[in-house]
């Protein structure tokens, strides 16, 4: 028997009972389709979370102050409110090799007033390096300059949400141009607006749109009343490969500056963006595996459906098998024929299933707004699994067919 003979026989047998063939195939279609769709939803979630984490800046290290751990009764102040990081630390870090930019920050929430409107929002004191480090774009005007920082200028850059809250009205939104030059009052200090940032969307790490930026020195002096401590240090590293080295160098530098000999007693913590991405990826990876496994169960059920149909077929076609053996078919010929039939069922089911899963994923994106991503690997995996199912679940019926005794098979009623 040539391959084309086998395929022709397979086509013939599968088209004899079209309804049964398509129902059996439907099991595989749903199985493969749900694997493709579920995994695409999981992988879509993974890539969208990664993109969001990347959007807070690239090659980012975030240093936050923390209470120094001592012996005895321990009162832990919330991170960010502890006063252990200073502008001196920031200057020292900026001298390290591999550091591209350092952005020291102080922040707090204040009531902000402007000509009769007011809002409660985050006010952040920072330097000119901030837009580069945290990937902030200016829509109109300018960001805080080095001169503003050194001269403690009373200028402010506002986010689009603040712009809307202070200058917008219910029926008309305010344009950024209108806001430039306006004066706002924060904690009884007047600030002139010099710029508006572009909308960025919530990133899950603080909404950078609902934010007012002022020069670091101004914030330290007028808002906090203290002069040197900072609440967060954002560091941009030159290349991704240097992240770990720079992180270690910073840790050692700060431990030295703070006179701490035991690293476990550190009064600050360094957060590596890569670690956040890795953690988030691990979580979404587990999520994807879970979804895939649930869908995999329906694939298994589809496979059992194939075995069921093939066993029925073998019984129904007992006389045909007997005849084929009588006219010279060997065991191998018979088993190959039945194996090809089940493999063909799963192969076709797999092809349709991939298309079906792709449509489901597209519909989910369209109507539920969930990002989906179909990777080549999930398609290859689905195909591999369905081919394997065809062979595994087709093997037993094929073997049963091949081992039929021709005399008894011919007599079978």
């Amino acid at each position: 028997m040539t391959i084309s003979d086998i395929l022709e026989e397979t086509y013939f047998s599968l088209t004899v009972n079209k309804v049964r063939t398509s129902l059996t195939m439907l099991g595989i279609v749903i199985g493969i389709g749900s694997v493709i769709a579920m995994v695409s939803i999981g992988q879509g979630a993974q890539s969208s979370i990664e993109t969001r984490i990347q959007s807070i800046g690239s090659n980012l290290l975030i240093i936050t102050p923390g209470a120094q751990k001592g012996t005895g009764v321990q009162v832990s102040a919330g991170r960010g409110s502890a006063q252990t990081l200073t502008t001196g630390d920031s200057d020292a870090i900026s001298q390290l090799s591999g550091v591209e930019a350092v952005s020291p920050e102080v922040s707090g929430r204040y009531q902000v007033l402007s000509r009769g409107t007011n809002t409660n929002t985050s006010v952040m004191g920072t330097t000119s390096a901030y837009p580069q480090v945290r990937d902030i774009q200016i829509d109109e005007g300018n960001f805080i300059s080095d001169a503003d920082v050194s001269g403690s200028g009373r200028v402010a850059v506002i986010g689009p949400t603040v712009l809307q809250d202070l200058f917008g009205s219910a029926d008309a939104s305010s344009t950024p141009e209108q806001a430039i030059g306006q004066v706002i009052r924060i904690k009884s200090t007047e600030f002139t607006i010099i710029g508006v940032t572009k909308a960025k969307g919530g990133s899950g790490f603080g909404n950078q749109d609902d934010m007012i930026y002022v020069p670091l020195s101004t914030a330290q002096h007028f808002l906090l009343g203290s002069t040197s401590y900072i609440t967060e240090l954002d560091i941009q590293v030159q290349t991704q490969q240097q992240m770990t080295d720079v992180q270690n160098n910073i840790t050692n530098l700060l431990l030295g500056r703070h006179n701490i000999s035991d690293p476990t007693q550190a009064d600050f913590s360094v957060l590596n963006q890569a670690d956040i991405v890795a953690t988030a990826s691990a979580v979404t990876g587990t999520f994807t595996t879970l979804l895939g496994a649930i869908a995999g169960i329906s694939l298994l059920v589809g496979g059992i459906g194939i075995m069921n149909m093939m066993l029925t077929t073998v019984t129904e076609r007992t006389r045909e098998i007997g005849l084929r053996k009588a006219i010279g078919a060997k065991r191998k010929d018979i088993s190959i024929q039945f194996l090809t039939e089940s493999a063909m069922l799963t192969f076709l089911g797999g092809v349709i299933g991939v298309v079906f899963g792709w449509i489901v994923a597209a519909l989910v994106t369209q109507f539920a707004g969930i990002t989906t991503s179909i990777s080549l690997s999930s398609v290859v995996l689905a195909f591999g699994v369905s081919a394997a199912i065809g062979i595994v679940f087709g093997y037993y019926p094929a073997r049963r067919a091949a081992s039929l005794n021709p005399i008894e098979a011919l007599r079978y009623e």
Partner: protein, 241 residues
């Protein structure tokens, strides 16, 4: 051509041994038309299975076309069936939803004949079996009983086997159609020099052959020339029955 010597067949069922064939010996020469006749339970079906290489004898030797078939494996027996034996069954055993041509070319597929040659060979066989050409592309379940048996005969002929083994070929047909089918066998035997073995329980059917081997209780009772051969004179080419 065919040499059977001292063939026995014993089945064991639940510890009880049943001897179905008790030492059968005969020769069949090329071009003979032999009927093996016997009542049910005589062992003629078991003998047919052995002659058709579907089964192996418990003891004794069976040689067909120079090959000893007595001690072959399943797959080797399949090769013998493929090359040397053409079967015609009582219940036709056609693939009902396949066309006539597809049914007839099926043995050629297992014999490894290239596709282009199969149809030609099948057409020759269908002509020899006397099935009108306008039926060749019909599905086999659209044919009458007589036509179905002609398709089965064509399928048995198609690979040019050493012997054609017909197991009660008229059992599912009415007398008139049966007669026509028997006439086809006679013509294949006389015109095309095919060796034919006809297995039947009816004397009337057996009398269409040249030689009758009568089996009773697993032994040959008589083996003689048939002097009252019933010859089917008319061979209608336009079969409508």
């Amino acid at each position: 051509m065919i040499e059977c010597s001292n063939i026995t067949k014993t089945y064991e069922n639940g510890g009880i041994e049943t001897t179905v064939l008790k030492g059968i010996s005969f020769d069949i020469k090329e071009g003979e038309f032999v009927a093996i006749m016997g009542p049910s339970g005589s062992g003629k079906s078991t003998l047919m299975h052995i002659l058709g290489a579907l089964d192996s004898p418990t003891s004794g030797t069976y040689i067909i076309g120079g090959d000893d078939v007595s001690k072959l494996s399943d797959d080797e027996l399949a090769d013998i069936r493929k090359d040397k034996i053409g079967f015609v069954f009582q219940s036709f055993n056609l693939l009902s939803r396949a066309t006539v041509l597809r049914n007839v070319t099926m043995p050629l597929m297992y014999a490894g004949i290239p596709k282009e040659k199969r149809e030609k060979q099948a057409e020759h066989a269908l002509i020899a079996a006397g099935l009108p050409k306008d039926r060749w592309n019909h599905l086999s379940n659209q044919l009458s009983g007589g036509q179905m048996q002609r398709v089965a005969i064509a399928r048995a002929l198609v690979n040019n086997p050493t012997i054609i083994l017909a197991d009660e070929p008229t059992g599912n047909l009415d007398t008139k159609t049966g007669e026509v089918v028997l006439g086809t066998f006679q013509e294949l035997n006389q015109k095309n020099r095919h060796t034919i073995i006809l297995i039947t329980h009816e004397l009337y059917v057996a009398e269409h052959a040249d030689r009758i081997i009568h089996i009773v209780d697993g032994e040959i009772k008589t083996d003689s020339r048939n002097h009252q051969k019933r010859v089917v004179h008319k061979h209608p080419t336009d079969i409508t029955t």
